[in-house]
């Protein structure tokens, strides 16, 4: 099924408590080589037909207006699969 994948990450300079908790757990479980972890979101938009360039443009708009909040998040990638 054709899909558009939107990837969203918490802003680089923003504390990511979820990522921090995971990084701490990794350290405790014997992985000091992993210096940090950050957790974002992958959102798949499914289509039952081929994806047009208009769909991609719409997805970009949706990604910045609804799927992410630009105060706290960055849209890092929008890809077609």
């Amino acid at each position: 099924m054709p899909k558009i994948i939107v990837e969203i990450m918490p802003k680089q300079d923003l504390l990511d408590p979820q990522g921090k908790a995971v990084a701490n757990a990794l350290h405790r479980s014997g992985h000091p080589e992993i210096v940090n972890a950050r957790i974002g979101k992958r959102i798949e938009l499914h289509f039952d037909r081929d994806i047009t360039s208009e769909d991609m443009a719409n997805a970009e708009k949706l990604a910045s207006s609804f799927l992410s909040n630009d105060v706290i998040e960055d849209v890092v990638a929008i890809t077609k699969e």
């Binding site: 923003l14 921090k20 706290i72």
Partner: protein, 231 residues
């Protein structure tokens, strides 16, 4: 005076908000998220809870609900709107208030009686408080850390739009100890702590006088009634 309380799927403090309005002397009007009709209410409360399961981001899906869209439209014309906790998140997600709310910095859900300082008494929801009055109302949230860009923070402070600041303890890592904000006009107020849980002796926070006797939250709802009478 009719004050609407919107129920979203996952809202849990709507009945408490209705009760607070009743105790303050207003008439609560239950509103449903999927309806655009706000039944000609004179003010609206967006209550606490976990609208749409907090999916996507807290308040993000609720911000797109038909009832919220109508609230946004009317708020721009001056309708008094109070967003409590999840309601504050909805106000931020619908851009009625600036900034964002993120997971508490210590990653824990927190529930406590929280001391606040009232910093702005020129809003529809705080006109019965005294400037710099210290109040105690319950706080319970997992994602209450307030953040904004340096420019936004500077603007909020310069325009006196921080309405409440945390006292003694900053429970979630909010920037500048911000617990609540208002819009430029002063009709929209959002805060993380819950005034509707401190409106009746026997059910509120402990005070020096007696256990559970705190009713500092009642003034929020009395304030809006006064603002409506005067408008």
């Amino acid at each position: 005076m009719k004050i609407g309380v919107i129920t979203y799927p996952g809202t849990l403090d709507d009945r408490d908000a209705q009760r607070a309005i009743r105790l303050a002397g207003g008439t609560p009007v239950p509103l449903w998220h999927a309806d655009q009709d706000l039944k000609k209410v004179d003010a609206v409360v967006l209550p606490g809870g976990f609208s749409y399961g907090d999916y996507l981001r807290c308040g993000a899906i609720a911000a797109k609900a038909p009832a919220t869209q109508e609230v946004v439209r009317l708020a721009k014309q001056g309708l008094p709107v109070l967003g409590i906790c999840n309601g504050f998140q909805v106000l931020v997600e619908s851009h009625l208030l600036p900034g964002g709310l993120i997971r508490n910095e210590h990653q824990h859900f927190i529930c406590r009686d929280q001391k606040l300082r009232v910093e702005n008494t020129n809003t529809a929801w705080t006109n019965l408080f005294e400037q710099d009055q210290e109040i105690t109302i319950p706080l319970k949230n997992g994602e209450g850390g307030y953040i904004a860009s340096p420019d936004t923070l500077k603007m909020l402070e310069a325009e006196n739009r921080v309405v409440f600041r945390y006292l003694d303890v900053n429970p979630n890592g909010s920037m500048n100890d911000i617990a609540g904000l208002t819009n430029e006009r002063g009709n929209v107020v959002g805060l993380m702590p819950h005034p509707e849980h401190a409106v009746e002796p026997g059910f509120g926070p402990d005070t020096d006088i007696a256990m559970r006797s705190g009713i500092d939250g009642l003034k929020f709802f009395q304030s809006v009634l006064k603002a409506l009478v005067n408008s």
